[in-house]
């Protein structure tokens, strides 16, 4: 209406135009603000919970890590002593090394096996067998870790299934208490983790494969590519994002492992399977060294970030 009134007076028209565009902009801004206000209101409960239960504990943990504290009586400030102990004490640094060794089993093995299996299943994707295979292989993922740990510690016991099978095929000499042997305890724990995480990786990778354009495969086949060439030139590059997700999730699972180790070996024999998660628990709740436990927890968090952030960066780099 304002515009129609001003059609015959150019000077005013500009002014009014400016006025109307100003008001429109203001209205838009107000609407955006209103909408933003609504969005903020919706975010507040979650943000509050996040700050209360994630951010605050992280800051408290960092604070505690500079104290010598038993959790009850007044604490004493010790500066960076707790962090120095991480380097000095072979038991603490050993637990971190063990966690890195677990990455091989928790991360590399499931991702490699997952790629292989997913690629195989893709070959008969439409048949019923694929559904069965997918379900069976994913099952370990829905079993509680504690149950998986108990089941595997039975299977790995002296008279467990693993040793029975070994004896059946004449390998009596190899049979042993897998979780009680210094050389095999950590790998045995790793196998449990690999078994649990394999299904997850396989499912993620399989899902990634379904979005690859079948025309690519047809073109490759016309060009004379065999299954290996297809896998390395088409499947693997297309799955980069899924692989990065798998590696991220499983590396975190390895570095922050607790449940499986706690159930299967409790860190024994002779600290050979001690991991940071377990050591934090022992320090905080048995030795009541909350400060030392917090320092190890902070170090573990930094380590996880140091491993995982570059992975994310690689992922984003590849996208752009």
């Amino acid at each position: 209406m304002a515009q129609r009134q001003t059609t015959d007076v150019p000077g005013r028209r500009e002014a009014v135009d400016r006025f109307t565009s100003d008001s429109r902009r203001r209205a838009l801004k107000a609407r955006r603000l209103r909408r933003g206000g609504l969005a903020l209101t919706l975010v507040v409960p979650a943000a509050l919970a996040y700050v209360l239960f994630v951010v605050r504990p992280i800051f408290l943990t960092i604070q505690y890590s500079f104290y010598d504290w038993d959790g009850v009586t007044p604490a004493t400030w010790v500066g960076a002593d707790n962090y120095a102990a991480l380097l000095r004490n072979p038991e603490l640094s050993g637990s971190i090394l063990n966690a890195f060794e677990l990455i091989i089993f928790f991360s590399f093995v499931p991702v490699a096996l997952g790629l292989f299996t997913a690629n195989t299943i893709r070959g008969f994707a439409t048949s019923r067998l694929a559904v069965v295979a997918r379900t069976v292989l994913f099952l370990p993922q829905i079993i509680p870790l504690v149950a998986a740990g108990i089941m595997w510690s039975w299977q790995l016991a002296t008279n467990g299934l693993v040793n029975q099978v070994l004896r059946l095929i004449g390998l009596d000499g190899v049979a042993r208490a897998w979780l009680g042997d210094f050389d095999t305890a950590l790998p045995a724990v790793g196998v449990i983790g690999a078994w649990v995480l394999f299904g997850l990786c396989m499912l993620l990778l399989l899902a990634g494969m379904t979005k690859i354009d079948p025309a690519l495969y047809e073109a490759a086949r016309i060009d004379g590519a065999g299954p290996f060439r297809e896998f390395f030139s088409i499947t693997l590059p297309s799955l980069r994002q899924e692989v990065v997700v798998c590696v991220t999730v499983t590396v975190i699972a390895a570095l922050a492992s607790f449940d499986i180790v706690y159930i299967a070996t409790q860190g024994g024999p002779g600290n050979s399977t001690l991991v940071p998660g377990l050591e934090i628990y022992y320090l905080a709740f048995f030795q009541r060294e909350v400060g030392q436990a917090s320092a190890l927890a902070v170090a573990l968090m930094v380590l996880v970030l140091a491993v995982v952030l570059p992975l994310q960066w690689i992922n984003r780099e590849g996208d752009s």
């Binding site: 408290l60 009850v72 024999p269 002779g270 048995f286 030795q287 009541r288």
Partner: protein, 440 residues
């Protein structure tokens, strides 16, 4: 929210501990001797007990039957949970009676009631001193001397259990009188194709500490081991006698007397193997006596780790089943009366033996219930009396410091079995960890 985070971040963690009430018994209800009682008014005692051990609960039921004005409000947890919660519970939700883990830190933090006034008025100080020694803590947190901070419901004792049927197969009809004789039976068991010893030593539970400490008592003086456990100045575990003991244990490992998988064996696996007849011997404590009498009636024997030479001194790990009263408890007098009743009442002492399987606390000449001579309970009680006579009772070497068991004994004993640690190295590394912990 930010302000809250900042505020909590500014103050150092752990407030100042509230002042404990004066600890002298001051209740109006006392008996003719002036010792406190539970009175006649209705009282509810708050208890915090250990799951899976019915003794404490059975005693409270009998107590309520005899003193109907007293009822109990009992909460139970696993021992590990109890250990973790102890300081917090004693301060924030103070129980009148609580099953206690190692007492020295709790006493040092002022969380436990000093029971000395009760000991005096009830006459506990007239009992054999060794019964209460482990529960005394001095003002530097060392045990063995100082005010009394806890009381036992009974005291347990360790030694060797054996399967009588299997023992007969290897020609053992009476317990060995010397270590050499025990060695020969272990060898005979191995030659017969039996597993001589199934001993838990897996995970975080180094059960090899049981045979090791038994051997230490045979080679050396239990009093020296106690002063090490009580953190007395200049004490060391790395002594020639203890080295002999550790070497003897290592010789059993080398000879293959232990089950192959001890480093992955937990306590319950050991028990099920022994009960299932898959092991001739186990090193364990009399808390299993009642259970074994039920599971394998008439087929279990018990002996103390034998001396080096016949008739020599014997020793055993022996520890009271410790219960304490919070420094902030509402009914400390009645709780103390209950603890005294457990040690002196005939019904209570019968329950302590029949349900607990261990020797009751109290004067040496106090009432003892009749026990069938064929049971292993009778044998453990008899061995307990012998230990009392010879003053051979020791606390458990695992109790010397808060983390010496999980962080030092267990990994080192597991290494000893795997051949990754030698006896001398075992003792010196445990001593190093001990020094690091109590020095720092």
């Amino acid at each position: 929210m930010g302000a809250l985070t900042v505020m909590t971040a500014c103050s150092s963690p752990g407030g100042t501990a509230p002042d404990a009430d004066e600890t002298a018994p001051s209740s109006a209800a006392t008996n003719a001797d002036g010792a406190p009682t539970c009175g006649t008014e209705p009282v509810t005692l708050k208890g915090y007990f250990e799951t899976g051990f019915p003794l404490a609960t059975d005693l409270t039921e009998e107590f309520t039957a005899q003193y109907p004005n007293v009822t109990f409000d009992i909460r139970e947890d696993q021992f590990a949970v109890l250990t973790q919660n102890a300081p917090r519970v004693l301060a924030d939700d103070p129980p009148d009676l609580m099953r206690l883990p190692q007492v020295s830190e709790l006493a040092e933090d002022g969380l436990l009631l000093n029971l000395d006034p009760y000991a005096e008025s009830f006459g506990w100080d007239a009992w054999p001193a060794s019964q209460l020694e482990q529960m005394r803590v001095d003002d530097e947190g060392r045990r063995g001397d100082g005010p009394l901070y806890a009381m036992g419901l009974n005291f347990s004792m360790t030694g060797v259990f054996y399967n009588k049927d299997l023992a007969a197969q290897i020609g053992m009809t009476t317990p060995p009188a010397t270590l050499a004789e025990l060695d020969s039976y272990l060898q005979a068991a191995k030659d017969a194709g039996l597993t001589p010893i199934a001993q838990f030593n897996g995970g975080a539970t180094g059960g090899f500490a049981f045979p090791l400490q038994g051997l230490m008592a045979s080679y050396g003086d239990p009093a020296e081991i106690n002063s090490w456990i009580y953190q007395q100045p200049d004490s060391t575990i790395d002594t020639p006698a203890n080295l002999e003991a550790a070497e003897h244990l290592a010789s059993w490992v080398d000879a293959g007397y232990f089950a192959e998988d001890v480093n992955s064996m937990d306590y319950s696996t050991m028990m099920s193997r022994f009960i299932g007849g898959e092991s001739v011997f186990i090193f364990n404590g009399d808390w299993e006596s009642g259970n074994l009498d039920t599971q394998m009636p008439g087929n279990v024997g018990f002996f103390l780790v034998p001396p080096v030479e016949e008739g020599g001194a014997v020793g055993a790990m022996s520890a009271p089943l410790t219960f304490g009263i919070s420094a902030y408890a509402e009914n400390p007098d009645c709780a103390a009366f209950f603890l005294d009743w457990v040690a002196t009442n005939e019904e209570a002492r019968t329950i302590a033996v029949e349900i607990g399987g261990s020797h009751p606390m109290g004067p040496a000449d106090a009432f003892m219930p009749e026990v069938d001579a064929d049971t292993v309970t009778a044998q453990t009680l008899e061995a307990g009396a012998l230990i009392g006579e010879q003053d051979g009772a020791m606390d458990f070497i695992a109790n010397a410091t808060g983390s010496i068991y999980a962080k030092s004994w267990t990994p080192n004993l597991q290494k000893l079995f795997a051949g990754e640690q030698d006896p001398a190295g075992l003792l010196s590394s445990v001593q190093a960890d001990y020094d690091a912990e109590i020095g720092g």
